[in-house]
């Protein structure tokens, strides 16, 4: 068993080497695990959020519906993500001939592009289905509170009713039926009742 004296010495030594102390050192160490930063979407980056808000406002129009504005924000954020990914790929492509790791990295970056593209497509669909800024007598376009200087990221990332419906439909389609049953023409059919062996549990003994 470790003696008390040794334990104290260990604690003392550990206290003497507990990472960076200055603010600059802490800031640098905070980025130790960062590889390319592409897994963090633009909407989570406070520096980019203001830019996203301005661009989305231009795209959606000053009197846009909040739903349309949120879709525009998601669209702009996904587009910024794609541009970042494109910029991250270029140096890797330049040294792909000499560096095997660069090809591997390029391949792994591809999945971020796939995600950003799917986000952008979804945002465009929502943007198209949301009410246009100038209504033709059908409804009244409203001044959006989210069109202020800063955007409400939580509101932008919140799923719209259309998205919720879409995801619930997808869940319904992808739901796995219970063992021995199958979804056929929308009705659950229990195939176990057609099979005598299913009624008796196999014991494994002969």
């Amino acid at each position: 068993m470790t003696s008390l004296c040794k334990r104290r010495a260990n604690r003392r030594n550990a206290r003497a080497s507990t990472g960076p102390r200055t603010a600059a050192g802490k800031a640098r160490a905070a980025q130790n695990a960062r590889k390319h930063g592409l897994s963090v979407p633009a909407l989570r980056d406070p520096e980019k959020t203001r830019n996203i808000g301005n661009l989305a406002r231009k795209l959606a129009g000053p009197k846009a519906d909040p739903q349309r504005f949120a879709a525009a924000c998601r669209f702009v954020a996904a587009q910024i993500d794609l541009l970042d990914i494109r910029e991250a790929r270029l140096p890797l492509l330049s040294r792909a001939l000499d560096d095997r790791a660069a090809i591997k990295r390029l391949h792994s970056i591809d999945r971020y592009a796939r995600y950003a593209r799917s986000q952008r497509s979804r945002a465009i669909r929502d943007f198209g289905s949301a009410r246009p800024p100038v209504s033709m007598g059908i409804g009244q376009s409203i001044d959006s509170d989210t069109c202020g200087a800063a955007i409400d990221v939580a509101a932008v990332l919140r799923k719209s009713p259309l998205q919720k419906r879409r995801s619930s439909l997808r869940r319904g389609i992808g739901r796995r039926p219970a063992r021995g049953t199958s979804l056929r023409f929308g009705r659950r059919v229990d195939y176990n009742r057609f099979c005598d062996s299913a009624k008796t549990k196999p014991t494994g003994k002969v």
Binding site: L97, I103, S121, I124
Partner: protein
């Protein structure tokens, strides 16, 4: 007299887009032909004629993906060519002495070395196909990754074109609905039929 500078019109689709806009700057790496990229972009823009910022963005996407596909194909071919010297060394190892030096000279396209390599391969009943097969065996992981990236790029290009098609179809549908709603409403109120002039009151 100096002629005034020509200003490209808004509908001039041959004008290359080089500014940092929605679609970003063209992603070119060192040694790539910027003029070739611009020509490709101009051709696609002429064919698809973008109408708004969304379509402009998709077009840039499609062009970038096409460019990326060409680039990845080139990368694959160059990778096989660059790494072939290692395969020459592998294949010639049991056949000749100083196979490494010979492979290096062959890589530098030294004529005598090229002739020696060809003769050595022929004497063993092989050809450059054997060298390329050995290169492929060595680089199969990289080649597989590049192939996967090419496949992804081509799929995305197809998706991009379909999105433009869908976007235009939905726009056309919305336009038709708007026109139908206007047609079904009171033609006088909609302003389609001019109002009859009000009778002037007798003074």
């Amino acid at each position: 007299m100096q002629s005034p500078p020509t200003v490209p019109s808004a509908t001039d689709h041959t004008e290359p887009v080089r500014r940092r806009d929605w679609a970003g700057e063209p992603g070119l790496i060192l040694g790539e032909d910027a003029q070739g990229y611009d020509e490709l972009l101009a051709q696609v823009r002429r064919a698809l004629t973008p109408r708004d910022v969304m379509e402009e963005m998709w077009i840039r996407d499609v062009v970038d993906l096409a460019w990326d596909s060409f680039r990845l194909r080139r990368l694959k071919a160059n990778l096989l060519r660059v790494r072939a010297s290692n395969a020459v060394w592998d294949v010639l190892g049991p056949l000749v002495r100083n196979a490494y030096d010979l492979a290096q000279k062959w890589h530098a396209r030294d004529e005598a070395a090229v002739r020696t390599v060809d003769a050595a391969l022929k004497s063993a009943g092989m050809s450059m196909d054997a060298v390329m097969a050995a290169t492929l065996r060595e680089e199969i992981d990289e080649i597989e990754r590049i192939e996967a990236m090419i496949a992804n790029t081509e799929t995305r290009r197809g998706v991009g074109l379909r999105e433009i098609e869908r976007y235009r179809a939905s726009f056309a549908e919305k336009l038709r609905e708007a026109l139908e709603s206007v047609e079904n409403s009171d033609p006088h109120a909609a302003g389609i039929v001019p109002q009859p002039p009000a009778e002037q009151e007798a003074v």
